[in-house]
C-alpha cells in the first residue's frame, strides 16, 4: 500500500462512521393511515369530497367516504382510473351530481370531467377553458367560465357536446337555476382597471332565459365581487367578498323578480349549506394581525345568528374550507385546508354537533356531493 493511503485510511473510516451515525439518527417519517371510519346508516350511502389541489400542481383529487361500509377511500378517482396518467387534473373547482353522472369542473385544466356517479370511472372530457361552477337542469349542464371575458356554457348530458355559450359579466362564479331562468353571479375578481390598477369588481347578477339561452337582464345588486348563491326556504341568498380592503364581504337576499338586494349581515361567509329550510354558514374572521377564527352561524329568514352548531374545538380546524350537511341525517361535514399546500382533513360531526370522526383529505378539500342508495 502506498504510504499516503495508509495515512488517509483512518480518516476515511472516521468520516464514514460519522456519516453512518448521522444517517441512522432519524429517517424521514412516511405517514400511513387507517382508512376505517364509523359507519352511518341512512339512505345516504356516502359522499364524494373534491380536493381542489394547488394551481399548476395537477393534484386535484376525489375522495369517497363510504358511510354504509365505514371506509374512507383517498384518491378514489385515480384508483378507479389507473390508466389516466394525469388523473383528475388541475384545480378542481366544483363537483355536481347530474343523474348517473358526476361532473367535475377543473379550472386549471380547462376541462369538465364527466365520470360515472357510482364508480367514478371516466366517461368523457369536455373542454371548457377557465371553468368555475356547475348547475344541471333538464338534461343539460351549465358551466360558468372566466374565459372569453366571462361566459356561460351549455353542455348536453346526452352526448357531452357543447350546445351553446353566451357572455356574462366578468369572472362569473356560482349560478342558480330557478323556474326557467339562470342567475349568474359575477365577481370581476381578475379584472384590473388599466388606469388605477385597482381590481374592477363586478356587482351584477346576469339573468339568462333558458328557453332561448339569452341574457334577459343584468341586475346591479350593489354588493361587489359576488361569489355564492343558495336557496333556503323562501329566500335566495347570495354572498359577496367585497374588495378585501375597505369593503367587507356580505350576505344578502336577492329578489328574483325585481332584482333587488337586501343586506342581511356584513359577514364574509365562505361556505354554507341548506338543511330543512335552514342555511348553516361558516365565515372566517380575521383580526388586525391576520389571526383567523372560524365563526359558524345560521340564516333564518332575513336574520343571521351566530351559532356553534358543530364543536370546532374538538377538531382543531386551522383553515375551514368546506361545509356541508348530510341530507338524510343532518350530520355536518367541515373540511380543513391546513396550510393550503399539504393535505388537509375532513371532520364529520353528528347532527348535535359532536365530532364523530376525522380523516386526512387531499389538498384544499372543498366541495361535497352526497350519494343516495339506488
Amino acid at each position: 500500500m502506498h504510504p499516503a493511503f495508509r495515512k488517509a485510511g483512518p480518516v476515511s473510516m472516521f468520516l464514514t462512521a460519522v456519516l453512518a451515525a448521522a444517517v441512522a439518527c432519524e429517517p424521514v417519517r412516511v405517514e400511513e393511515q387507517d382508512n376505517r371510519i364509523p359507519a352511518v346508516q341512512s339512505e345516504v350511502i356516502g359522499f364524494y369530497l373534491l380536493n381542489e389541489g394547488t394551481m399548476g400542481a395537477n393534484n386535484a383529487t376525489l375522495d369517497y367516504a363510504d358511510l354504509r361500509n365505514g371506509e374512507y377511500v383517498s384518491g378514489f378517482f385515480s384508483k378507479q382510473n389507473p390508466d389516466m396518467p394525469l388523473s383528475l387534473g388541475d384545480v378542481g373547482n366544483d363537483i355536481l351530481l347530474a343523474g348517473d353522472c358526476l361532473a367535475i369542473a377543473l379550472h386549471g385544466s380547462g376541462i369538465v370531467e364527466i365520470a360515472d356517479a357510482r364508480t367514478a370511472e371516466h366517461l368523457a372530457e369536455i373542454p371548457v377553458p377557465g371553468c368555475r361552477y356547475l348547475a344541471e337542469d333538464g338534461g343539460s349542464l351549465y358551466v360558468t367560465s372566466y374565459a372569453e371575458g366571462g361566459s356561460l356554457w351549455k353542455i348536453s348530458l346526452e352526448d357531452f357536446s357543447i350546445v351553446s355559450k353566451i357572455g356574462t359579466g366578468h369572472d362569473p362564479e356560482q349560478l342558480h337555476i330557478h323556474d326557467g331562468f339562470i342567475y349568474v353571479l359575477n365577481s370581476g375578481g381578475m379584472q384590473l382597471d388599466s388606469g388605477t390598477g385597482q381590481t374592477a369588481y363586478e356587482h351584477t347578477v346576469t339573468v339568462v332565459d333558458m328557453s332561448d339561452f339569452s341574457v334577459v337582464r343584468t341586475d346591479d345588486v350593489g354588493f361587489r365581487n359576488l361569489y355564492k348563491v343558495l336557496c333556503g326556504g323562501d329566500y335566495e341568498y347570495m354572498t359577496s367578498r367585497g374588495d378585501y380592503m375597505n369593503e367587507s364581504g356580505a350576505v344578502f337576499t336577492y329578489d328574483r323578480t325585481s332584482g333587488e338586494a337586501v343586506m342581511i349581515a356584513s359577514v364574509a361567509v365562505s361556505n354554507w349549506c341548506e338543511y330543512d329550510g335552514t342555511v348553516y354558514t361558516q365565515a372566517t374572521v380575521y383580526d388586525e394581525n391576520w389571526n383567523q377564527t372560524v365563526s359558524l352561524g345560521r340564516l333564518c329568514g332575513k336574520d343571521y345568528v351566530e351559532d356553534d352548531f358543530a364543536d370546532l374545538s374538538s377538531a382543531g380546524i386551522k383553515a375551514c374550507y368546506g361545509l356541508d350537511v348530510n341530507p338524510a341525517t343532518g350530520d355536518f361535514v367541515l373540511t380543513d385546508a391546513g396550510d393550503y399546500v399539504t393535505p388537509g382533513a375532513v371532520h364529520y360531526f353528528s347532527a348535535d354537533g359532536s365530532l364523530l370522526w376525522s380523516h386526512r383529505a387531499g389538498v384544499c378539500p372543498s366541495r361535497i356531493v352526497w350519494i343516495y342508495e339506488d
Binding site: H2, P3, A4, K7, A8, S12, L15, V18, L19, A22, V23, V28, V30, E31, G56, A57, N58, N59, S78, P82, D83, M84, P85, L86, S87, L88, G89, D90, S109, G110, I111, P127, P129, G130, A147, G189, M190, L192, D193, S194, G195, T196, G197, Q198, T199, R241, Y244, M245, A268, S270, Y286, W290, K318, Y321, A337, G338, D339, Y340, T342, P343
Partner: protein, 642 residues
C-alpha cells in the same frame, strides 16, 4: 498556503499577505479551470450540482430557470458573486445561473463559512453561503489570446463562444468575450402515474435564444490591479409551464425576454501588510413577461415590463499587525424597480452594509470574528395623482460570525457560528393580495443561524494527492417567509411564519494522480441533509422534511487523461424528495441517478474535439414537480485555444 483553494490563490497577492492560510479549504468546495473544462457538465449549474450540500432547482432544459440553494437554506440566502461582485435580482431574489458560460470560468467555489481571505466585501461576509464564480485573468506574458468554441447537440441545441484578447502594453490587457446559444428545447419526456400508466410527449415552448457581449480591460501595475468590464446579455425564452392535464395540447405560450446591461470595476491594491479593494457596479435589467401570446381566450393577455436598476459601491481594506489581521468593509447599494404593471408604483431600496473583522493567529491556531451591520430602507415611490412616496420599511440588523480553527499537520478543524439574514424580496412585499396593494406588509427579514464543525485532511506523496473534507452542521431558519391566504381564500399574502431546523453532514474528497502521460482526478461528494419543518406544532406534517430537499445525495466526477486523450464521467444521485412538508406517497418525487460522459481529444495543441452524452441511461426524472428533465442527449464541440 498549502490548503488555499485555487480560487483563493488566484485572489491576487492579498490572500497570501493577509490570510493565515492553513484552514483555507475548510467548508469550501471548488472546481478548478481544468476540472471545469474536463467535466462533461455543460453549464455552471450542471457543475454546481456536483458540490456537496448544493441543490440546483432546475426547471428543465437549457431554457429552464436554474437557481442554487446551499444546505436547504433557500435560494435567496445564497449569494452568487462573479469576480467578487454580487449578482442581484431584487425582484425575486433568485439568480438564473444558466446565463454564465462555463468556458469563461477560472474557478467555481461554494463557500459555507466565510472566505479565508481577509479582503472581502461586506456583502460577501453577510451572505449565509456564497457561490463564487471567477473568470479567467489574462496571461500578461502573452501578446494576445484567442479562444473559440462551437457546439451542437440534441434538441436543436447549438452555441458559439469567442474570446479574444490583446496585450496593449505591459500594464494593459484588453479582452472581448461573447457567446450565442439557441435551443429548441423540445425534448421528449415520459410522465408516469403510480399505477404505471404513462404518457409520452414533447416539451413545447421550451426554446431559448441568447447572446452575450462582454468587453473587459485589465490593468496591472506593481501592487495595483484593475479589472473594468461591461456587458450586454439578452435572452428570449418560452415558459413551458408545468405538465398538467389540459384539454388538447400542452399549450402554455408564455414568453420571457431579458436584457441585462452592466458596467463594473474592481480595483485592488496589495502591499505586504495592507490591501485595499474598491468595487463599483451599475446594472440595468429589463424583464419582459408576455402571458398568453397566442391570445388563447381562456387566459388573459398580459405584456409586462419590469425595469430594475442597481448601483453598487464597495470598499474593503485589510491590515495585518503581528498575529492579528483586521479588515473593514462597507457596501452601499441602490435598487430601483419600475414596471408597467397597473397600479404598481416604483420601488426603491437603499442599503448599507458595514462590516468589521478580526483574526488572531498563533502557530496552527486561529480565531476569527466578524460583524456585519445591515441598514436598509424601502420606499414606495410616488405616482402622480395616485400615491405618494412612502418609506415602507427600515431594517437594522447586526449579523455576527465567530470561528475557531486548529490545523495540526495535515489536518484542519474549524468550528463556526454564523448568523445571517435576507430581506424580503420585492415580490414578497408587493406582489401580494390584490395586485394594486402598494402598502407593503411589515415583513421581517428571514434569519439563519448556522453552526458547523468542519474537518479536512490533505496529503500528497509523489504522484498522488488527496483532499478530504467533512462538515457537520446545524442550522435554524427563523421568520421564514411563507405565503398564506389572507383576507380570505381568494387573496394570498406573505407572512413571517415558518421555522426550519436543519442538520446534516457533507463529505467530500478529491484525489489526483499524475504520472508521466497519465493523469487522473476523482472527486466524490456526499451529503446527508435533514431539514425539518417546525412551523406549526398542530400540523400533522410537523417535523416533515421540507420541500425538494433529498435526504441523501451523492455525486462523483472522474477525469482520466492520457496524452491527447481525455475521458470523463459525472454521476449524480438524489434520494426521494417531497414536493411539500407532507412526506406522503402522493407528494413524493422518485429518486434518480444520472450519468454523463465525455470523450475529448486535443489535436495540434490548439484544437480540442469533444463528444459528450448527458444522462446516458435516459433516466426520466423531475427536480421540480411537474417539470420533467431531459432524457439522454448528445453534443459535440470543437474548441480552439491560441
Amino acid at each position: 498556503m498549502l490548503l488555499m483553494t485555487p480560487a483563493e490563490s488566484a485572489d491576487t497577492l492579498s490572500a497570501s499577505v493577509v490570510s493565515s492560510g492553513r484552514h483555507g479549504s475548510l467548508s469550501v468546495r471548488t472546481f478548478t479551470s481544468w476540472q471545469v473544462s474536463s467535466m462533461p457538465s455543460a453549464t455552471v449549474p450542471d457543475l454546481l450540482r456536483h458540490m456537496a450540500g448544493v441543490q440546483i432547482r432546475d426547471y428543465g432544459g437549457l431554457g429552464g430557470l436554474k437557481t442554487v440553494n446551499v444546505r436547504s437554506l433557500g435560494s435567496q440566502h445564497t449569494g452568487v458573486f462573479i469576480d467578487g461582485v454580487r449578482i442581484s435580482n431584487v425582484q425575486n431574489g433568485q439568480v438564473d445561473l444558466g446565463r454564465y458560460p462555463a468556458e469563461d470560468m477560472e474557478s467555481i467555489s461554494v463557500v459555507n463559512s466565510i472566505s479565508p481571505s481577509m479582503l472581502q466585501s461586506a456583502s460577501e461576509l453577510a451572505s449565509a453561503s456564497t457561490v463564487r464564480l471567477r473568470t479567467m485573468f489574462p496571461d500578461f506574458s502573452r501578446p494576445w489570446s484567442l479562444s473559440a468554441k462551437g457546439e451542437y447537440g440534441s434538441f436543436g441545441t447549438g452555441s458559439a463562444y469567442l474570446s479574444a484578447g490583446k496585450r496593449l502594453s505591459d500594464r494593459f490587457f484588453m479582452k472581448f468575450s461573447g457567446d450565442f446559444r439557441h435551443t429548441d428545447g423540445d425534448y421528449p419526456f415520459v410522465f408516469r402515474n403510480v399505477y404505471g400508466a404513462d404518457t409520452t410527449a414533447r416539451r413545447q415552448n421550451s426554446d431559448l435564444t441568447s447572446f452575450r457581449l462582454s468587453p473587459s480591460l485589465y490593468m496591472r501595475s506593481g501592487r495595483f490591479r484593475l479589472h473594468l468590464s461591461g456587458g450586454w446579455f439578452h435572452s428570449g425564452r418560452g415558459l413551458p409551464g408545468p405538465v398538467i392535464r389540459q384539454s388538447g395540447q400542452y399549450r402554455s405560450s408564455d414568453r420571457q425576454n431579458d436584457d441585462n446591461i452592466f458596467v463594473q470595476t474592481v480595483c485592488r491594491y496589495s502591499a505586504k501588510d495592507f490591501s485595499l479593494k474598491i468595487t463599483g457596479k451599475y446594472a440595468y435589467d429589463l424583464c419582459n413577461y408576455v402571458q398568453d401570446t397566442l391570445w388563447d381566450k381562456s387566459a388573459a393577455y398580459r405584456n409586462l415590463h419590469y425595469r430594475q436598476q442597481e448601483g453598487y459601491v464597495s470598499v474593503s481594506a485589510a491590515y495585518r499587525f503581528g498575529n492579528f489581521a483586521f479588515s473593514l468593509a462597507w457596501d452601499g447599494s441602490v435598487f430601483h424597480l419600475s414596471s408597467d404593471v397597473a397600479g404598481l408604483s416604483g420601488k426603491l431600496r437603499l442599503s448599507s452594509l458595514a462590516a468589521a473583522r478580526v483574526r488572531y493567529s498563533y502557530r496552527n491556531f486561529s480565531a476569527d470574528a466578524s460583524l456585519v451591520h445591515d441598514h436598509s430602507a424601502d420606499f414606495s415611490l410616488s405616482r402622480p395623482g395616485i400615491s405618494e412616496t412612502v418609506r415602507t420599511s427600515v431594517h437594522d440588523r447586526p449579523c455576527p460570525f465567530v470561528s475557531v480553527s486548529w490545523s495540526p499537520g495535515k489536518f484542519g478543524f474549524m468550528l463556526y457560528w454564523k448568523n445571517s439574514f435576507r430581506l424580503p424580496t420585492f415580490n414578497e412585499l408587493y406582489y401580494v393580495a390584490v395586485p394594486s396593494a402598494n402598502v407593503a406588509h411589515a415583513l421581517d427579514p428571514e434569519t439563519v443561524d448556522q453552526f458547523d464543525f468542519a474537518a479536512s485532511f490533505r496529503t500528497s506523496a509523489g504522484i498522488w494527492s488527496c483532499d478530504l473534507g467533512a462538515d457537520l452542521f446545524y442550522n435554524i431558519t427563523k421568520d421564514k417567509i411563507v405565503w398564506l391566504p389572507a383576507a380570505n381564500q381568494f387573496v394570498w399574502s406573505a407572512f413571517n411564519y415558518g421555522l426550519v431546523h436543519g442538520y446534516g453532514a457533507t463529505l467530500s474528497m478529491d484525489h489526483s494522480l499524475v504520472s508521466g502521460d497519465f493523469g487522473m482526478n476523482l472527486r466524490a461528494d456526499y451529503s446527508y441533509m435533514r431539514s425539518k419543518d417546525m412551523t406549526d406544532p398542530q400540523s400533522p406534517w410537523y417535523g416533515g422534511q421540507i420541500a425538494y430537499v433529498p435526504l441523501h445525495s451523492v455525486s462523483a466526477g472522474l477525469i482520466l487523461s492520457y496524452r491527447d486523450w481525455s475521458l470523463s464521467a459525472g454521476f449524480i444521485y438524489n434520494s426521494v424528495r417531497y414536493r411539500t412538508s407532507a412526506n406522503i406517497a402522493s407528494d413524493l418525487l422518485a429518486p434518480y441517478a444520472c450519468l454523463d460522459v465525455m470523450l475529448s481529444r486535443t489535436l495540434w495543441k490548439f484544437m480540442k474535439i469533444s463528444l459528450a452524452a448527458a444522462n446516458i441511461t435516459d433516466t426520466h426524472y423531475e427536480i421540480v414537480s411537474r417539470y420533467p428533465m431531459p432524457g439522454v442527449s448528445c453534443r459535440m464541440a470543437v474548441q480552439f485555444n491560441f
